[in-house]
Each structure stands twice: as structure tokens, then as C-alpha cells.
């Protein structure tokens, strides 16, 4: 990883950067699995953006209609109806909004926060490094799902708190990656050179060091969005996620538990939605890793 970063760093100029991006894209395109992943991810994003166009929230997604409860798949309700007679497909489509937004926001928070902490730790070293990294050790020492559970339960279940909880429990990962990248880049000559021409620390971190950690971070992000979505569904499953009647995959799954025997589709379909999402994100993440660091693949 380090050598890729270094060579990318030495390339430095804008044109070379674009060249690297193009090259990565070219390699990614050749990877069939990654392209399938990317297609599905794009599809899911589009669905969640246009969810309201597909199914109206107030009249379809949350409106109860007990006469048609627990129906199996039919022409009218492709994936059947749930315990309150709501269309499962409509709820899954709207649920993708929750899952994707929690995934993206949680990862963004922890990326920015963890990344800055890691960058500061790596760049300044000494006491700052020690304090930050010991704090990260503390976060790491608690199993992450347990930490999220504790945080959500203390702050009260809501989407925002869910995002925060997941973000906090995945801080150490980003901090470590960025710190490691900073340490490998820090003592290289182009950083020395930047110092010599009078760039301040903040500028150096922003313009020289951060671009050099991009490759591992991009990979980590795509994989972490997946695990954030998994955590979200897990927390919702425990009743610590979004409040009813907001549709969320984990909560839907949990709601179906009471009807496992007679209406297993209530549980089966949300699970499949989760699997497809995670699978495609992972395929994309793996593909990106191979494309960004071709040495690893052969």
C-alpha cells in the first residue's frame, strides 16, 4: 500500500492525478464482479432518491390497512403485505433511504472525525499522538456493536443517534488508517520541500498528506458503509433503531418475527434486501481495492 501511495505522491501534479483516476477506472471496468456491484449500488441509490415517486409515503408506506394484512406475494403486492397490511415492497424501497443514509452519514462522520484525529496524531506525534491513540484503544477495546447499543440506548433511539452511535464505534479504524498513511508519507522529501517553501502544517496535511491516504480510505469507506448498514439493521432489530412506523429493514425483519410460521415472507424479504445491498457494496469495495492496488491481485 505504502509504495502505491508514495509513487502517487511523487507524481503529484494534477494531470498525473487524473491519469491515476482513469487508470483505476479502466481496471475497475475490467472487473466484472465489481461492475455488477457498482450497478446494483447505483440502482439502490436511484431507488432511494426516487422512493416518493415510486410509492407515496403517507398513503402506501405507513398507512395501515388491516383487511389485507399478512398476504403473500400477489400481482398487486409483489412482495406481499405485512402485519398491518402495508405493502412490503413499498416499505423496502423507502427503507433503503434509511439504510443508505445512515450508512453514508455515519461513515462520513467517522471518516471526517476519525481521519482528522488520525492525521493529527500521525503528524504531530508525541503527546498528541499518545492521547488520541490511547483514546482509540479504549474505543477499540469495547466490541463495536455493544458500544453502539450503549450509545443509542443512552441517547434514545432515533436516526440521528443511530448514525452517531455507529460513527463513534467505527472511529478507530479511520484514525488508524490515516495515521499510518501520514506516518509513511510524513518524512518523505516532498513534505520536507513543502515545509521549506513555508507551507504551514494545516496546508501540508490538507494538500499533501490527505490525497496520499485516499486509496486505502476509499476502499475502507465502501466496505464500512456496508457494515454500517448491517449495524443499523442489527440495532433496529433489537428495537434500538428508528421509531415505528418509519420503514427500516432491520425493524421490518424484527416485526416479522412474530409471524415466522405463517407469514415468513415478512422476515425473508427484508433480509434479502440487506444481503443484496451489503453484497454489492462489498463487491464494489473489493474491486476498488484491486483496482487501486493492482499488486495485490494476480
Amino acid at each position: 500500500m505504502a509504495t502505491t501511495n508514495n509513487s502517487a505522491a511523487q507524481a503529484g501534479t494534477a494531470t498525473k492525478k487524473r491519469g491515476q483516476f482513469k487508470e483505476t477506472w479502466r481496471r475497475l471496468k475490467k472487473n466484472r464482479m465489481a461492475m455488477i456491484g457498482l450497478t446494483v449500488v447505483v440502482f439502490l441509490v436511484l431507488i432511494s432518491i426516487f422512493a416518493d415517486v415510486l410509492f407515496d409515503y403517507d398513503t402506501v408506506v405507513i398507512k395501515q390497512n388491516t383487511q389485507i394484512r399478512l398476504q403473500g406475494p400477489s400481482a398487486e403486492h409483489w412482495l406481499g403485505t405485512d402485519e398491518f397490511g402495508r405493502d412490503i415492497l413499498a416499505r423496502l424501497v423507502h427503507g433503503s433511504r434509511v439504510s443508505l443514509s445512515v450508512g453514508v452519514v455515519a461513515v462520513s462522520i467517522s471518516l471526517v472525525l476519525g481521519g482528522s484525529l488520525g492525521a493529527a496524531a500521525g503528524f504531530y506525534g508525541g503527546t498528541i499522538d499518545n492521547v488520541i491513540m490511547r483514546f482509540m484503544d479504549i474505543l477499540l477495546a469495547v466490541p463495536s456493536l455493544l458500544l453502539s447499543i450503549t450509545i443509542v440506548s443512552a441517547l434514545g433511539p432515533s436516526i440521528i443517534n443511530l448514525m452517531l452511535a455507529i460513527a463513534i464505534s467505527s472511529l478507530p479504524g479511520y484514525a488508524r488508517i490515516v495515521r499510518a498513511s501520514v506516518l509513511t508519507v510524513k518524512d518523505q522529501e516532498f513534505v520536507e520541500a513543502a515545509k521549506c517553501i513555508g507551507a504551514n502544517n494545516f496546508e501540508i496535511i490538507l494538500s499533501h498528506i490527505i490525497p496520499n491516504c485516499m486509496a486505502p480510505i476509499i476502499v475502507q469507506v465502501s466496505l464500512k458503509v456496508a457494515s454500517a448498514i448491517l449495524s443499523t439493521s442489527g440495532l433496529s432489530f433489537l428495537g434500538l433503531g428508528v421509531k415505528a412506523p418509519t420503514p427500516e429493514w432491520g425493524a421490518m425483519l424484527s416485526g416479522g418475527r412474530a409471524y415466522l410460521r405463517n407469514a415468513p415472507h415478512l422476515t425473508i424479504f427484508p433480509g434479502i434486501a440487506i444481503i443484496i445491498t451489503i453484497l454489492s457494496l462489498n463487491l464494489l469495495g473489493d474491486g476498488l481495492r484491486d483496482a487501486l492496488d493492482p499488486k495485490l491481485k494476480k
Binding site: A141, L146, I151
Partner: protein, 310 residues
């Protein structure tokens, strides 16, 4: 070596202090009046005040924390708010259940993952490899609580051959262990494959072949021992997190373990119990990590040499 172990154990102390402080602080943010919850529904203001005073809940958080730590140092984890039983004994009665489940799960995971990972690597792009890797991808993507529910649908509700929950006899282990094991198997399998592929390309493997070592021995003796080094880490970490966080699976199968205890205690705002569980699980998690590092040294003489120097 023993100096290294001691050093690691000593380093655990500040981490534990940090963890307890952090969790104590987070829990103190909880909305709602703890004293009122403990006093029970319909208790009058006087009783609530008495409870508050009794438990020291009227003091600042930091003081409460200090008191908690002081007691913890004396081996006292406090008393559960909801059951009034000592936290330590409650945890100790659930922990073995979690440990047993974790043991069988990791065994399932290793039994599935290692052979598939090794075969996949030695016959890259073969049918076994392709099927194995697709299965592993699916395994990583499947939420284990969902898999658990699916198993319940098939084996308990439809076939009626396995109990859907609880801990009663060996049959009740099967589904939880498979549920937890397959997810970990997927991870371990992918790790084994990539690590094997990496090792097989090394020069010393070519040396071994050039010595006339039969291919099977090359894989078993020369490649595997090197390839297992990162795999051992993953197995150890997975085992650690099984001990500390089979929360969801334990909930699905009503397994009387620590994971479920945490969830239940959080729901009933039983702060001493939550803290106690997290302290226990953090200790377990850290000790497992230490054991993994030591196992490393056992497999890799280069690392052993480093530890000896320290």
C-alpha cells in the same frame, strides 16, 4: 516472554479505566430518572428521594464513578437495579453459556473455512474456488440474526427437528453455532485464501519445490504455517467478538448468555449490570487479543525474537 505478557497486562489497566469511565459517562446521559425506575412504578416522591440518596445518585457523576471504581477495585461490581442480585454472580452465571456457544461457533467456522480457503488458493479459479468464494461473499453479506431466523423457519417451524431457542441439550447448540459460525467462516475463508495465494508466490516455496518436496507437503508444511499467521489473528479477533458480542444471535435464539444480558439490562436501565458486563467483556476481549499475539510468536519465530528483546 513473561515480561512481555506482564507488560501487556499492565497496559490493560488504563484501557479498563478508560472504558469504564466512558461507559459510565454515556450511561449517565440516559434520559429518565434512574431512581424513579428503581423505586418502581407508582412510588411516591419520598421513596424516590430515599432510593436516590441510598444509591448515591444525588451526587455528581464523577463522584459516583469514583465510588464505583473504588468498589470495583475491591472486586465488587455492585448490585443489579432490577434483580437486586450481585452483578458479578449474575454475569458469571451467563458467561459460561456465551463461552460455550463461542467455542462451538468458532469451531464450526474453522472447520468450514480452512479447507475451503486452502483448496481455493491451491486451485485458483477452479470450480471449488469460484463456488467457495461466492459462498463466502454471501456469508459476509448475510446478517446473522436473519440467518438465524431462516434456520428457525426451516428446522424448528417446518421440520420440527431442532428447538427454536433456549439452551437445553446439544440440539439447542446446532442452530446458534451455525448462525454465528458461517459468518465468521466467510471472513476466515477469504483471509485464508488470500494469505495462501500470497505465500505460494514466495521464493521459499519455490525453494521447497526445487528440493523435491512433494506438492502436498509443500502446501502443508511450507505454505500453511506461513499463511496461517494472519489467519490466526482473524480467528482470534472473531473469537473475541463472539465472546463479547453475540448479542443479536443470543437474542434470536433466547440464549442465556452475556450478550442477551446486556441488551436486557440496557432496556431496563440497569446501569451496574451494563457496566459490569462491558468490563467483563472488555477484559475477555483484551485477553483473547493478547493470546492471539502470543500464538503469533509460537508460529512465527521472527516475532518471538522481537518479544524476547522487549
Amino acid at each position: 516472554m513473561s515480561r512481555y505478557i506482564l507488560k501487556r497486562l499492565v497496559m490493560l489497566i488504563p484501557v479498563l479505566i478508560g472504558v469504564t469511565f466512558m461507559v459510565y459517562f454515556i450511561l449517565s446521559l440516559s434520559p429518565g430518572d434512574t431512581a424513579a425506575i428503581i423505586a418502581g412504578e407508582g412510588a411516591d416522591a419520598q421513596t424516590i428521594e430515599a432510593v436516590r440518596k441510598d444509591l448515591g445518585l444525588d451526587k455528581p457523576v464523577i463522584v459516583q464513578y469514583g465510588k464505583y471504581m473504588w468498589n470495583l477495585l475491591h472486586g465488587d461490581m455492585g448490585v443489579s437495579y432490577s434483580t437486586k442480585r450481585p452483578v458479578f454472580t449474575t454475569i458469571m452465571s451467563s458467561f459460561p453459556n456465551t463461552a460455550k456457544l463461542a467455542f462451538w461457533s468458532i469451531l464450526v467456522a474453522i472447520a468450514i473455512a480452512l479447507p475451503i480457503g486452502i483448496i481455493s488458493a491451491t486451485r485458483q479459479y477452479s470450480a471449488v474456488d469460484n463456488v467457495g468464494m461466492v459462498a463466502a461473499l454471501l456469508g459476509v453479506a448475510t446478517p446473522n440474526f436473519w440467518l438465524g431466523l431462516m434456520l428457525i423457519i426451516v428446522f424448528s417451524l417446518n421440520l420440527g427437528i431442532l428447538p427454536s431457542g433456549g439452551m437445553s441439550g446439544w440440539k439447542s447448540y446446532i442452530m446458534p453455532a451455525i448462525t454465528l459460525g458461517t459468518g465468521d467462516a466467510a471472513l476466515i475463508c477469504r483471509m485464508t485464501r488470500s494469505s495462501m495465494l500470497e505465500v505460494i508466490r514466495q521464493d521459499y516455496i519455490r525453494t521447497a519445490r526445487a528440493k523435491g518436496v512433494p506438492e502436498k507437503t509443500v502446501i502443508r508444511k511450507h505454505a500453511l504455517k506461513n499463511a496461517l499467521i494472519p489467519v490466526v489473528t482473524v480467528i482470534g479477533l472473531q473469537f473475541g467478538s463472539l465472546l463479547g458480542g453475540a448479542t443479536l444471535t443470543e437474542t434470536v435464539f433466547a440464549w442465556p448468555g452475556v450478550g442477551r444480558l446486556v441488551v436486557d439490562s440496557i432496556k431496563s436501565k440497569d446501569a451496574p449490570m451494563v457496566l459490569g458486563c462491558i468490563v467483563m467483556l472488555t477484559i475477555t476481549f483484551s485477553v483473547i487479543n493478547l493470546i492471539v499475539d502470543l500464538l503469533y510468536a509460537y508460529i512465527d519465530p521472527r516475532i518471538k525474537a522481537q518479544y524476547k528483546k522487549k
